[in-house]
């Protein structure tokens, strides 16, 4: 993707334009579906908002389809676990789409404890002409009916309904951090800090535990699982990342309990960079398979790494996202920013990777040209159809015009969640409670 890109902002009908950021509106996950036609966002208030791309207009071929709100529903509500006296947050941690198999759309959404399968379907006709009910729905006295008629389907305004078709609950003691749909389209995994469970999409009262790293004595706990994902093509393979900076690839055919990995990816720590916070910054916050299934990408606090599945002892490529923060780890620890979990994403052709940073910056790395760019998602800096200007952080010495110094970065503005259209150069970036969608320039 070129540095200069045509940016188009979402029309303001759904950019939540508050003067204050209500907690509940903070976007906690974004995900395109497999065709890119739909974009789902989940927020801290347990709501899911689905956007649909406008059909491209024949009369205005230069105008690419915009994304408009398609459906909004409350996916999860706050709950209370009475046994443990714990409140269960309604925040949506992850959304994963199922590939479309009929007219309806299906997605999985999860909070800390429960995964739900939602069906989103359209209704644009309704039956009219009932015999026993009149148009208002009131029942008619059967004795007044003299003739019978067959109800006919009349067009109506499009209505999009979301219904919960399955609820997968009571399988996780710890907080769910990720879900992943298998390429077999029949099963999916849900992952918490210590366990990975395998579900069948049809069966909600049973799940199989396939990874369990809980030690017999919890005092001996040294690492937790931070994310897990199925291989995009091999339905028997999945990978999970740990807080120690390692990734394990597992084959479900080997054993029912996949405690023995078949591949173990870890880069030895560089002793010269050891600090109080070494363990924190090496914890992997996200793991993603490439679309072609040959690579893995991991995100830790300061870097993004691309791993070749055939090479376990070191990553293929390492990209510094914001190395200038290395000297600020102490203050980032103090304000808790060091615990932020950034996600990373591949583009459709696996040639570019993208991840977020602070100050509403996000970074893209072109794996082929080795060029990288820092862009900013902010209303002030981007007008509709304006080209996004590359940003630069000044790390020391003389600050040039338009550069921003490390100390002026706003750490409350962080881009944790981003997603890339599966085929086109369209990206969605969540900046706290605002959603930005950027498109590549139309030639």
């Amino acid at each position: 993707m070129e540095e200069e890109s045509d940016t188009r902002k979402i029309n303001n009908s759904f950019l939540r334009d508050h003067n204050y950021a209500t907690e509940a509106d903070i976007i906690s996950t974004v995900e395109f579906n497999s065709t890119g036609e739909l974009l789902a966002t989940g927020d801290k208030g347990g709501r899911v908002v689905v956007f649909q791309r406008e059909q491209e207009s024949k009369t205005q071929p230069h105008r690419r389809g915009e994304y408009n709100v398609y459906s909004t529903f409350q996916s999860h509500e706050p709950e209370f676990d009475y046994l443990k006296s714990l409140e269960i947050e309604e925040k949506i941690n992850k959304i994963k789409w199922l590939p479309q198999q009929n007219a309806a759309y299906f997605l999985l959404s999860t909070n800390d404890k429960t995964v739900k399968l939602w069906k989103i379907s359209e209704r644009d006709k309704r039956p009219e002409g009932y015999n026993l009910k009149d148009e208002d729905g009131r029942f008619r006295d059967p004795s007044t009916i003299t003739t019978l008629r067959v109800p006919v389907l009349q067009p109506m305004d499009l209505m999009v309904e979301a219904t919960a078709r399955r609820v997968f609950s009571n399988a996780h003691t710890y907080h769910i951090n990720s879900i992943s749909v298998n390429s077999d389209l029949q099963t999916f995994i849900s992952t918490d800090d210590l366990r990975v469970n395998l579900w069948n999409l049809e069966i909600t009262d049973r799940s199989f535990n396939i990874v369990d790293i809980k030690p017999a004595n919890m005092e001996e706990l040294t690492e937790v699982i931070t994310s897990a994902e199925f291989h995009p093509q091999q339905c028997h393979t999945f990978a999970y990342s740990s807080s120690k900076g390692s990734i394990r690839l597992c084959d479900m055919r080997q054993a029912a309990l996949c405690d023995k990995h078949c591949k173990y990816f870890e880069e030895p720590e560089d002793p010269s960079t050891r600090s109080f916070f070494s363990e924190i910054i090496s914890s992997i916050s996200d793991v993603k398979f490439s679309h072609n299934g040959r690579y893995l990408m991991t995100r830790d606090y300061l870097t993004v790494k691309v791993w070749d599945l055939q090479m376990e002892n070191k990553p293929l490529e390492t990209y510094q996202v914001h190395d200038y923060l290395r000297g600020k780890l102490c203050s980032l620890y103090e304000n808790d920013c060091i615990f932020d979990k950034f996600e990373c994403v591949w583009n459709g052709s696996d040639s570019v990777i993208m991840t977020g940073s602070y100050n509403n910056f996000f970074r893209m790395f072109d794996r082929n040209t080795k060029r990288d760019v820092t862009l900013e998602a902010s209303r002030e800096n981007s007008k509709p159809r304006a080209i996004l200007k590359p940003r630069k952080v000044c790390v020391g010495g003389k600050r040039r015009k338009d550069e921003i110094s490390v100390d002026s970065l706003d750490f409350s503005k962080k881009i944790l969640h981003t997603t890339w259209h599966p085929h086109e150069n369209i990206i969605a970036v969540a900046a706290t409670n605002n959603l930005y969608i950027f498109q590549d320039k139309v030639n």
Binding site: E87, K91, N217, F276, E279, R326, C330, F339
Partner: protein
């Protein structure tokens, strides 16, 4: 563990990191959604790193002071052939408590033996006493341990509180090799690295208690050290005097967290 202090943007003080980390652990109890296992695990790593550095620095300071005192003791011993001042006639191993006013005195077994009027043969300096192997004489296997929380003085056979060693060994699988190496230089006993950690603490605790006069901060840290002397479980299960860091009420709830963790 070598800490890249140069890269730190603020005056990274092991002590402030420890108190910051404890505050985070405490506040995580009241956060919505329950205790986040991952975050608390990472915080415990920072705690461990800060603690290791703090202990090493304290130990280095003690060692330096110890060397100085030994030199002075030898000098004074040469000049005057009188025995050292006898200490108050307390419980044989209760001398620790009674010596706050003798800053120059080396703590530990050596003192105790002298204080007890030679009841025990001269022992090697205190920091050797823990985890001693059989090669030393039986008498040298005794260690006095002052529990800073309860102010109870106990004598430990074979140099370590069994519970402390096991917990520390379990909770600190990656013992700092640096600390272990240094210990070996001084101590000819071939202790396992894990076992040396608690011995550092018991030794450190004794010395820390003596130097407590420096005020509330130091006493807080020495109390914290006593917590971590038992490894992770020590953090959870001990009632610590952390008034400067947390309110007593909050602390009472720390115990509940122990139960919560165990319940998982």
């Amino acid at each position: 563990m070598e800490v890249d202090r140069g890269a730190m943007d603020c005056a990274v003080d092991a002590q402030s990191l420890i108190s910051m980390s404890l505050m985070k652990i405490h506040s995580s109890r009241t956060q919505r959604g329950g205790i986040k296992l991952h975050k608390n695990l990472l915080v415990s790593y920072v705690l461990r790193n800060a603690r290791q550095l703090y202990i090493r620095e304290k130990y280095a300071e003690i060692y330096r002071m110890q060397q100085y005192e030994e030199v002075m003791a030898v000098c004074s011993g040469i000049q005057e052939l009188e025995p050292l001042e006898p200490l108050e006639p307390l419980e044989p191993q209760g001398a620790e408590d009674a010596e706050p006013e003798q800053p120059g005195r080396a703590a530990g077994c050596g003192d105790e033996s002298r204080a007890a009027g030679g009841r025990e043969p001269p022992e090697p300096p205190y920091y050797r006493s823990c985890c001693m192997e059989d090669q030393f004489s039986q008498n040298c296997n005794k260690t006095t341990v002052l529990d800073l929380d309860t102010h109870v003085v106990t004598t430990v056979e074979n140099g370590f509180l069994h519970q402390d060693c096991c917990c520390a060994a379990a909770a600190a699988p990656q013992c700092a090799p640096g600390a272990a190496a240094r210990k070996r230089k001084v101590d000819s006993a071939g202790c396992s690295p894990d076992a040396e950690e608690p011995s550092d603490y018991t030794a450190g605790r004794k010395r820390l208690k003596r130097e407590e006069c420096s005020g509330a901060d130091a006493s807080n840290i020495s109390n914290l050290i006593s917590i971590f002397g038992s490894g992770f479980s020590g953090l959870l299960s001990r009632q610590a005097d952390l008034e400067q860091v947390c309110s007593k009420q909050a602390l009472a709830s720390l115990g509940a967290w122990t139960r919560a963790i165990v319940a998982f």
